[in-house]
């Protein structure tokens, strides 16, 4: 039972979460409308992907509502989504409900994202604990590896690992590894590689490491930590309480980058998640599929922000009390 003294704080917390939810809903709507407009502006449509498009257009344009004015198309799509119907894929998997097309891939992509985020945070913060205030050369070293774009890192690793393994196999030094050859074998190693590349590449690890180092230095130098140290009390609750909110913010702000990296990584490593499918859907002008995935990714990024805000609000008393 909440004490009467905490009620205003609880209200402020609820109001803040409410504001975030409203922003979240508007973001989803905005992303969906924007993608519809962009797809409509792109030359060609889904029927153009078919060999005898001219003959099929009269029937398919009506079936797929491609002749309707854009505002009508957008409103009709929103109405369908509100009823829980994301429609069916037109070209990528003709006739298959969008939810059915993306359900499996979405879980795969989400798993990859979450694991990569956890790995990037764990390694970044762990490294920061070790390197803070010493070993000055580690930061540039982390940057040097992490700054490599995801697609380049993926291509380099696939090529290097395959070439090395093939040479060793030809020399009789090793038996054929289960993951060989990347990326066509569906082996746990391929997934581990994907997680590592996503966690490290495009500056993810470097940014988290640098931020965590700075935060740790500030926290360790703060009065309450020194007081706790003087009392002989454990330091980690203070460190965790002050480290988590800003870390959550950094991770949330990186969520969109992670999703961006995912598209290209899934394509290179043949992971067939929603990123790779979105790429295909955009090229094929498969509107319902592209929109469904956009909605889903916008929701995932929005949820990451919501989660980060919830962490920040629940752990940071000043923010909870803010109007």
């Amino acid at each position: 039972m909440a004490s009467p003294a905490r009620s205003p704080r609880a209200w402020a917390f609820a109001a803040a979460i409410g504001r975030e939810l409203a922003t979240f809903a508007l973001t989803l709507l905005g992303a969906a409308v924007l993608v519809q407009v962009l797809l409509a502006l792109a030359p060609g449509d889904a029927i153009d992907s078919l060999p005898n498009a001219a003959e099929l257009r009269p029937v398919l344009a009506a079936q797929w509502h491609l002749d309707d004015p854009l505002p009508t198309q957008i409103l009709a799509w929103i109405a369908d989504v509100a009823r829980g119907d994301l429609r069916t894929s037109l070209v990528y998997r003709p006739g298959m409900p969008v939810l059915e097309v993306i359900a499996g891939p979405a879980w795969r992509s989400l798993g990859l994202l979450l694991t990569a985020t956890a790995l990037a945070s764990g390694v970044g913060v762990g490294l920061a604990f070790v390197t803070r205030g010493r070993a000055w050369w580690i930061r540039p070293a982390v940057w040097a590896v992490s700054i490599v774009p995801v697609f380049l890192l993926a291509r380099l690793l696939v090529h290097t690992l395959n070439t090395a393994a093939w040479s060793l196999m030809q020399a009789g030094s090793i038996a054929r590894p289960g993951w060989f050859a990347l990326p066509v074998e569906d082996h746990p190693f391929r997934w581990a590689l994907a997680v590592a590349i996503l966690a490290v590449g495009s500056g993810a690890l470097a940014e988290i490491h640098a931020e965590a180092e700075g935060l740790l230095e500030r926290i360790q130098g703060s009065g309450y930590v020194q007081a706790a140290r003087a009392r002989g009390a454990p330091l980690w609750p203070h460190v965790a309480r002050n480290l988590l909110p800003p870390l959550a913010t950094i991770l949330a702000s990186r969520a969109a980058f992670f999703v961006g990296g995912l598209v290209i990584l899934e394509k290179i490593l043949l992971l067939n998640g929603v990123g790779a499918i979105l790429w295909r859907a955009a090229i094929d002008r498969d509107y319902p599929l592209a929109l469904g995935i956009t909605l889903l990714t916008a929701a995932a990024v929005g949820l990451a922000r919501l989660l980060a805000d919830a962490v920040r609000l629940s752990l940071d008393p000043r923010r909870r009390e803010a109007p």
């Binding site: 153009d48 078919l50 003959e55 043949l270």
Partner: protein, 506 residues
Amino acid sequence: MFAPPLRSTALLTLAAVGLAAQAAPLRYAEDRAPGIVNPAFATSMSEARINELIFEGLYTDSTELASVPRLAADATLSPDKRAMRIRLRTDVKWHDGTPFTADDVVFTVKALKNKQTASPEVGRVLWIDSARKIDRHTVELRFGQPEYAPQDKLHFKILPAHRFDGDVIPRTHPFRNRPIGTGPWSVTSFNDDNSVTLQKWRDYWGEARIDEFVMREVADKNYQAKLLVYESIEALVRVLPRDLATLQADRKVELYPYQTNSWWYVGFNQQRAPFDDPRVRKALSLMVDVPELLAPIGTGDRVSGPFVPSSPFYNHDVPARSRDVAAAKALLQEAGFTFDGRAWSRDGQRLTLTVAAQKNLETAQDVVVNLQSQLQNQGITVETRFLELPEWKQRIWTQKDYDLILSLWTFDRNEDIYQQFHSGGSRNFSGYANPQVDELLDKSRATTDPQEKKVLLRQVHALVAADDPMVFLWTLDSYAALSTRAQGVVVHPFYFFTFAPSWSLR
């Protein structure tokens, strides 16, 4: 509990080893996994190839590319050649165990023709007026006009009537991902990595030796040859010219050359200046050094018209144009262009052209860049544009917004160029129109005599070549590459897997 005798155990073990050895799949790579496994909606070569493993037509090609019965047992053509009575095989079962009957043939023809099906394959059955079941294993097909060799057009795949309601095949029907055919292999799974696994259909009426096929999606064409070397796939449908030497040197890989009914061209937009003027088209044709364009991308045969040299319709009396820059310059001057020593211009405007090509057309970039360089050396400014398929269709086919395109046409065994060169053809987006060609094409469609058809189309070849609607370039030498473990391999130039039932895997 009984312990099996030692000898039986050894035999069982041997049998198991044998089975395990046979169960090794033949894995082949495609740039793109089929979006739908339903012959009624096949729109890509990867779909056509996988359909060849799963489905069958009434007729198919022999290794000499003559029509031979497949689901048909035998047939009689009526004296007026307007009807054909086909007796079907009685020992064929669909992959769900249901017997194949005349109902399936009647359904397929009706459903493909049905406008509500909106099948891109409708052209394959439009010539059939009606399909009627005579008895459980006999059908009668009636044609709109006399057909001299209808079996050549009866290769389209038959679909199971019992899986659909009425005479329509909806795109949204669950058949799309639970397809069944009568072919040697049945789909067992669509996998998470977009690969498709097929296993030998246990009740197949014919012989098939390979137990399992796996179609693997490898979007990066440059990587496919590497996977064959790494023994991660056993078959590569088409080898890129740059990979030929590597694969040729690999003792575990065998190359199989095959001829495709496919030719490349640089097309002119004849509906706007400057290519509405035949002199400018001819000038450009004479400026291009075709062998120099071909050399960097592979080997092949020059073509002088709209057929490949191995075609019966190819007119060998028409020579391929040779480069003649002096003649080209004279023609441009005749068309009103002047050359100031650096560039051509007319009415104060420099001659500037845009060459477009499809992004996914392999090696197109090399050809376009070389073409650009050749024309720029002759004083013509050239811009390049590479387009994705939907944009290509809209900009080139619909809006006709281009000067030059680099592209290719691929034909099946019928080599029907009507849609490309008839003034009313659905694929004649360049605006080519010659009443004489129209008349000859109409006659070639109507004739029942193959000899007459040959003569008519050879005339079309000569007329089209003289009109310069495009610079006819070449037909490329194509090579498939397979692991030496694959035995008895003969590849079909278009569908690739037509003869796969006789392949085996060591």
